[in-house]
């Protein structure tokens, strides 16, 4: 009796299990990647710019073709948002492992008065001792032009009479794909691991 039951149910159950596994495998193979940020359908390459990088050497966005570029605008005296985001960028690079070489993180200063290339380098080395974060600066006019193109607002906000100031700024992180197109916009607070998953997807497609 037992053997009859087994023989009656074995095939349908096995078929059902195999079918479910097939559905899961196929769905994982064909489903679109779910991005952690807002995906853009950019028709034109991202706005190109040249700024001053480490050791006073020029860094041009379009020279990064073939790499995924993460752009973030901030400043070294920024009390919270910038360090938090940069630690997420470091975590993202860690999560990418050997793929991190195909990624460039560019931190564009919105405080050209204070943020020299040397200061930026020292600040970023504190966050990522492996030196994978690149600080960029330039003159205020150039930074205004670039920021406007990338939807970044920034404005100095004095907080005392002795010249102390903060800079209010947009805190989005922007992902430019290896072909030079703006692909994803991340709100402040997006975990580095989630961005790493997106970058991994973009690098493999």
């Amino acid at each position: 009796m037992k053997n009859i039951l087994l023989s009656r149910w074995t095939l349908p159950v096995a078929g059902l299990v195999i079918g479910l596994v097939a559905v899961v495998v196929l769905w994982n193979a064909v489903r679109p990647h779910t991005f952690a940020g807002t995906v853009m359908q950019s028709l034109q390459p991202a706005y190109d710019f040249t700024l001053t990088g480490p050791d006073d050497l020029p860094v041009k966005l379009s020279d990064q073709h073939g790499k995924a570029v993460l752009l973030f605008f901030g400043y070294t005296s920024c009390p919270d948002i910038c360090p938090t985001t940069l630690y997420e960028m470091r975590d993202m690079l860690d999560a990418l492992g050997n793929k991190a070489g195909a990624v460039r993180v560019l931190f564009v200063s919105v405080d050209p008065e204070k943020d020299t290339p040397q200061r930026l380098k020292a600040f970023l080395a504190n966050i990522d001792p492996q030196g994978r974060l690149t600080g960029l600066t330039g003159d205020l006019d150039t930074l205004n032009e670039i920021a406007a193109q990338y939807g970044i607002f920034f404005q100095k906000r004095p907080y005392n009479d002795s010249g102390g100031y903060l800079i209010d700024h947009t805190a989005t992180v922007l992902l430019v794909d290896p072909d030079g197109y703006l692909r994803v916009v991340y709100p402040y607070g997006t975990p580095g691991a989630d961005i790493a998953a997106d970058v991994r997807y973009i690098l493999s497609h």
């Binding site: 078929g15 195999i18 196929l26 807002t38 853009m40 193109q149």
Partner: protein, 222 residues
């Protein structure tokens, strides 16, 4: 035998997925406006001299236009279009977030906050907040000429030549539609605005996936 079952099931599932994708791209059950580019970041001032930044547009829908207060007849079609949109919105139930109009001056040297404050608005909006913004010439050049790609050129007589443009920016600061020309088909604009509203309303759960798929498969209105 088992292997045969597996292939049949896999083929059936694969076939259904292909049919599903084809149906989605051809029947286009979900339409979206593309996320074209980022709207500009800026800090400008309004007629009251109050600072208004691009961040103030977070979570709102904004229709940007470009004009100057002494524009007179050249700007009539623009004002009529904005009035028609405002009337169209006033005639139907309010939706969240409400649309706002932001007009960036093309003549910042003359359009000071005081000039904006004394400017007799061509109509009083019933449902839309309408703000004129001015600021340093360089900033406006970066914003209007640079990021919004509006063609404009001051003339010797003090007027400004410009190619009229309307730009719809969503609450994430992303340009969703650009309309060139002085006159905008109001009915078409309101239909497209509804697509953005629908997307905002459906931005949760499985529906969000359908909207992302619509972006992926470029299901845009004709």
């Amino acid at each position: 035998m088992k292997s045969g079952w597996l292939w049949k099931i896999a083929a059936a599932v694969g076939g259904l997925l292909v049919i599903g994708v084809l149906w989605f791209t051809l029947a286009r059950p979900v339409l979206v406006l593309p996320r074209m580019r980022l709207g500009p970041g800026y800090s400008l001032v309004d007629a009251a001299g109050k600072t208004v930044t691009s961040e103030d547009g977070r979570g709102k829908l904004t229709l940007y236009t470009f004009a100057y207060t002494r524009c007179a007849a050249d700007c009539e079609p623009l004002y009529q279009t904005l009035q028609a949109i405002d009337s169209g919105l006033a005639a139907r139930p309010a939706r969240v977030p409400s649309l706002r109009f932001v007009t960036l001056t093309l003549d910042p040297a003359r359009d000071t906050p005081e000039q904006l404050a004394s400017f007799a608005m061509p109509f009083t909006p019933r449902s839309v907040q309408w703000t004129w913004l001015t600021g340093p010439e360089k900033t406006l050049k970066n914003v209007s000429g640079g990021a919004f790609e509006v063609l404009y050129q001051p003339r010797a007589d003090g007027s400004v030549f410009f190619a009229p443009r309307y730009v719809l920016v969503d609450g994430e600061g992303i340009v969703r539609a650009v309309y060139d020309g002085a006159e905008l088909n109001t009915a078409r604009f309101l239909e497209q605005l509804d697509l953005v509203y629908e997307e905002i309303a459906q931005a949760q759960g499985a529906a969000k996936l359908a909207y992302e798929a619509a972006h992926f498969f470029a299901c845009y209105p004709h």
